[in-house]
């Protein structure tokens, strides 16, 4: 009950402050009177008794203050008082308040916007009931050195599991109420009137049960749907696919749709807002046992060495992550014993839309870079406001001195100044956070609409703010308030009373020197941050320019590419060969077409094949990208053959193990030796087994895999019979022909009406490479100029303040014969010191950090001399301009006025 009494006392002193104070007065008064009476009865005169009693009592006011402190509510009262006072101060200087609030709104708004996106993507749990019970299960495999002959095929992500592994985990675990498996990003064609690409997910039949999602129409999968491979062709549609593709047809449940040539019966429709368990929205879900219908070429269910399923489990109540990991590890060790040398590690993680490690690491990198950039802008904004506050504090020296003289403690004063800063931060941050919360989703949609992504890809991210975003914005306000408020408050409260109380406190030399140092430091920080952002944008702009103008080492003029995927469409190599032959003949017959080229990977396209190659003695081994190409590939793309020859017809017909190396690949494997006729060990494209390949030619390096980088090893193999289902086609025509795509489309449609293809000029692939560069450079240029604006305001402020403080000195110098040039030099020289130091630090920081984004620089060096010379010069010019304007004002100082002013 003690605390109850304490609280009621506290409440009383808080809300009946006056009554409590009066009571204290009365108590002390009665004490005094008693003491006087006691003194009188001890024989003193009335006057003497009163004097003695008063003397003994000491300072009544400080005693009262102490008693109040004992009640422990003073800080609250003080806070209310500070708040009130702070609001009044902000109202008194609306210009300052407006600038500070606007700057902060920009800084905090940008930060909150980025955080909102990151939060929605990576931190928020899946939008399903009780998502906190869901965990992703990842397995990572290692093979002991001498048992490592097992070949693991990886589809999408190395942490995925095979079907048999999923079954083992699902059956043997004792920690999940349910464990689901799914394979997202299943690209296939949906044939309505004509074939259309569509993205879906293959799932275990307990998928929706584990996620606790209920259909809005029809049913979800039953266990019987997954009982036997290929038996149950049923499909669940997403709400958006139902509306967009099937016009919300209420009778769709029970109807049959054709996915990749197989008839599927629609059994249900997912509720609105559920787009699957990865960041790319799923249009449909089909049982995992139907995989053969989507990927006919290989045996996904039977291959124990294929990683293709992601796992999500729902923990039983009371089971911790540790217990679950332990249980699954026991099951995994059982698998270890089946495969020689295998060591399995099981990891659990929270289930979010970005739980796949490969996607998470990309987002983490991009996210942290953007966070760093907007963080720098906020830093600049803080430095600017700190500078403004410092200038104001100097103006308020007398007010502060008065408060100190009448007995305010320094801590109390700092608290009051900080309260003012906090008010500013909350106003600015509140405005910025609100604005960002309303605009982020729209900005994200806009950015995504301008990214060149395949039409079937829709993002499942719902960019919305939640308590975490609010918390983040609020924390940011508190941190910035301390950041820009603390130093000025500490400075301002350290006032030399005797000097400040004199008429002209603002001109005291001792005060301005250390304040000036602090201001210079702040300008230095600003310039460093600004330099970093400007340099980054300079580099990225150069990279973008390079991407627009780069010569990739092969020619793309008048070449149209047809991306085919016969293997997904269920073609056997024999059928594919017949199709390819027909297609080739019909395309070659088109007017103006002089060459038809085949390749499994279209140059700079989004499909990449990679495998290990080594010299026969295994001395030199490395992962190399490879491509199966027809013999005329090099001629049509204008890649010179430097040594040897291209593939012969005989080699193509038989699918001979002949390879052509790029120049740098040949150098890496064989150095100065003649590579022709040499042998290489490499994986067989079909079986994956190590086989011997013979080098028949060497061609010039070309940027066929990565724009801006031609030195990566690249090997060309023959397009033999086994590769027919995987080949895409490019045609070259003598003159550009805008109608050719239409012709090609109708030819393919007549050969196979159900086949979905993408046709476009080869040069269009460059767009995929330029888009990230364009987005990154746009962002960095905007941030860079924002930073430049803030920094130049900071420089301007410091210089004009310095000029104001030194008006008298300048007056004396001019009276003694200094001319305009000397004065200008004096002012500018002082301003330039922090600018140069800051710029130098910024350059060093950028040089250290710029390798991070070398991937979108397209061969521009991270230490690109152009950017590292031009950008600092540009910044310097702006800084000079910012200091020139106030410096010119200094030249106009009339010596007589300046001297009399004192």
């Amino acid at each position: 009950m003690r605390w109850l009494a304490a609280i009621s006392l506290r409440m009383r002193s808080l809300f009946h402050r006056r009554a409590a104070d009066e009571e204290l007065d009365a108590e002390l008064q009665s004490h005094l009177e008693r003491q006087i009476a006691a003194n009188v009865s001890a024989g003193m005169s009335q006057a003497e008794a009163r004097r003695t009693a008063m003397r003994d009592f000491g300072s009544v006011e400080s005693l009262k203050e102490e008693c109040r402190d004992m009640r422990k509510v003073t800080w609250l009262q003080d806070f209310a008082q500070d708040l009130h006072y702070g609001l009044r101060m902000l109202r008194k200087s609306p210009g300052f308040t407006a600038i500070a609030v606007l700057t902060l709104a920009l800084g905090i708004g940008a930060n909150t916007a980025i955080f909102t996106i990151l939060n929605s993507a990576a931190l928020r749990l899946l939008p399903v009931p009780h998502a906190d019970q869901l965990v992703t299960v990842e397995q990572s495999l290692r093979y002991a050195a001498n048992g490592g002959s097992i070949h693991r095929n990886i589809h999408d992500d190395a942490t995925f599991v095979s079907y048999s592994e999923y079954r083992a985990y699902a059956k043997e675990n004792r920690v999940f109420s349910g464990l689901l498996a799914y394979s997202a990003f299943t690209e296939t064609s949906l044939v309505q009137d004509k074939p259309k690409p569509i993205m879906g997910t293959l799932t275990s039949c307990n998928y929706f049960d584990v996620l606790e999602i209920h259909p809005q129409r029809g049913r979800f999968f039953a266990d019987s749907d997954c009982a036997a491979p290929g038996e149950s062709a049923v499909v669940v549609l997403s709400d958006s696919a139902w509306h967009s593709t099937f016009a919300g047809d209420p009778a769709i449940v029970g109807k049959t749709i054709t996915l990749n040539r197989t008839a599927f019966r629609v059994v249900g429709i997912a509720p609105p807002g559920f787009d699957g368990t990865v960041a790319v929205a799923s249009a449909f879900w089909a049982p995992v046992t139907m995989v053969k219908a989507f990927r006919p070429s290989s045996d996904y269910l039977g291959d124990d060495y294929l990683s293709w399923l992601a796992l999500i489990g729902r923990l039983k109540p009371g089971v911790s992550n540790r217990q679950a990991t332990a249980n699954l590890s026991v099951i995994a060790s059982g698998m270890n014993s089946l495969q020689k040398g295998r060591i399995t590690t099981v990891t659990l993680g929270p289930a979010t839309l970005l739980s796949m490690p490969s996607m998470r690491s990309i987002l983490l990198l991009i996210g942290s870079l953007i966070m760093a950039a907007v963080g720098l802008v906020l830093l600049l904004a803080c430095a600017n406001i700190a500078n403004l506050l410092l200038a104001r504090a100097t103006g308020r020296r007398k007010e502060i001195a008065v408060r100190l003289t009448v007995g305010a403690s320094r801590g109390r004063l700092i608290r009051q100044l900080l309260t003012e800063s906090l008010l500013l931060a909350l106003l600015g941050g509140g405005a910025g956070a609100l604005a960002s919360m309303w605009s982020t989703a729209a900005i994200f949609r806009f950015a995504m609409a301008h990214m060149p992504v395949d039409p079937e890809i829709a993002f499942a991210l719902h960019i919305t703010s939640d308590f975490r975003t609010w918390l983040y914005a609020f924390a940011l306000c508190l941190i910035t308030a301390c950041f820009f408020g603390l130093a000025p408050a500490l400075r301002a409260s350290r006032v030399d009373l005797t000097v400040a109380m004199k008429e002209d406190g603002a001109h005291s030399q001792t005060g301005t020197i250390s304040a000036g140092r602090l201001r210079n430091f702040l300008v230095g920080v600003q310039v460093a941050a600004c330099m970093l952002l400007l340099l980054a944008s300079g580099l990225l702009l150069h990279g973008l320019y390079r991407a627009q103008t780069v010569n990739p080492g092969f020619q793309m003029k008048n070449i149209e590419a047809v991306a085919l995927d016969l293997s997904s469409a269920g073609y056997t190599p024999q059928r594919a060969a017949a199709f390819q032959q027909q297609l080739q003949d019909r395309l070659a017959a088109l007017p103006g077409v002089d060459q038809v080229v085949q390749a499994t990977c279209i140059p700079l396209g989004n499909s990449h094949d990679m495998t290990g190659f080594s010299t026969p003695d295994k001395a030199k081994a490395r992962e190399v990208e490879y491509n199966h190409v027809s013999a005329n590939f090099f001629h049509v793309l204008g890649i010179p053959i430097l040594q040897g020859r291209t593939f012969t017809d005989e080699e193509e017909r038989s699918g001979a193990r002949a390879v052509i190396l790029s120049q740098s690949t040949a150098w890496r494997f064989f150095s100065a030796q003649n590579p022709l006729g040499q042998a290489l060990l490499g994986g067989d494209p079909v079986s994956g087994k190590l086989v011997q390949w013979q080098v028949v030619g060497v061609v010039a390096d070309a940027q066929v895999a990565n724009l801006g980088d031609s030195s990566k090893p690249y090997i060309y193999e023959t397009a033999g019979p086994a590769q027919q289902p995987d080949l895409s086609v490019m045609i070259h025509s003598a003159v550009s022909n805008p109608a050719i795509a239409k012709h090609m489309n109708s030819i393919i449609g007549s050969l196979d009406p159900d086949l979905s293809v993408t046709i476009g000029p080869l040069s269009e692939v460059l767009e995929f490479w330029r888009a990230p560069a364009r987005v990154a450079s746009t962002l960095s240029v905007i941030l860079g100029f924002l930073a430049l604006l803030l920094a130049s305001v900071g420089i301007y402020g410091v210089v004009s303040y310095g000029v104001g403080c030194r008006a008298r000195e300048i007056g004396i110098r001019m009276a003694l014969g200094a001319d305009n040039r000397d004065v200008m030099w004096l002012v500018v020289r002082q301003a330039m010191f922090p600018v140069l130091t800051g710029a130098l630090i910024g350059m060093v920081l950028c040089a250290a950090a710029s390798t991070i984004f070398s991937a979108i620089l397209f061969g521009v060096s991270p230490l690109d001399p152009g950017s590292f010379v031009l950008m600092p010069l540009f910044l310097l010019a702006v800084a000079l301009l910012a200091s020139y304007i106030p410096a010119r004002r200094a030249m106009c100082v009339d010596p007589m006025v300046a001297l009399r002013y004192e």
């Binding site: 304490a6 009365a26 108590e27 008693r34 000491g58 005693l63 004992m70």
Partner: protein, 111 residues
């Protein structure tokens, strides 16, 4: 312990609480009582007394009430609460243990 500033905070609390075990008293009375009982060795000044009283009240060891004093003057009377009594017993035992321990050490040093 000739000056009140020498009074360790806890000691002053202890003295006040002990003084209040007899009857509720007002501030001046407490100071007088301590002075008299200690043969004028301990003089409690207002500067220490009132903050201490407010602190003790805040902690719930004592309770304050306005009442009429001997010559019909209004005064704020402080009384010991149950919690305060318990606290005092505990603290007094501690104090006795401590002072007897110090006494032992000092006596031994003398002999």
């Amino acid at each position: 312990m000739s000056k009140p500033t020498d009074l360790v905070q806890g000691t002053l609390d202890l003295l006040i609480l002990r003084t209040l075990t007899y009857e509720p008293m007002h501030g001046w009375g407490i100071a007088q009582r301590i002075q008299i009982v200690s043969n004028h060795v301990l003089q409690v000044r207002q500067g220490a007394l009132y903050p201490a009283l407010h602190r003790l009240e805040q902690q719930g060891w004592i309770r304050a009430e306005w009442g009429d004093s001997e010559n019909n003057r209004r005064a704020k009377f402080y009384a010991l609460t149950k919690a305060g009594q318990k606290y005092l017993q505990k603290e007094q035992a501690n104090w006795e243990r401590l002072s007897s321990a110090i006494g032992l050490v000092l006596d031994e040093a003398r002999s």
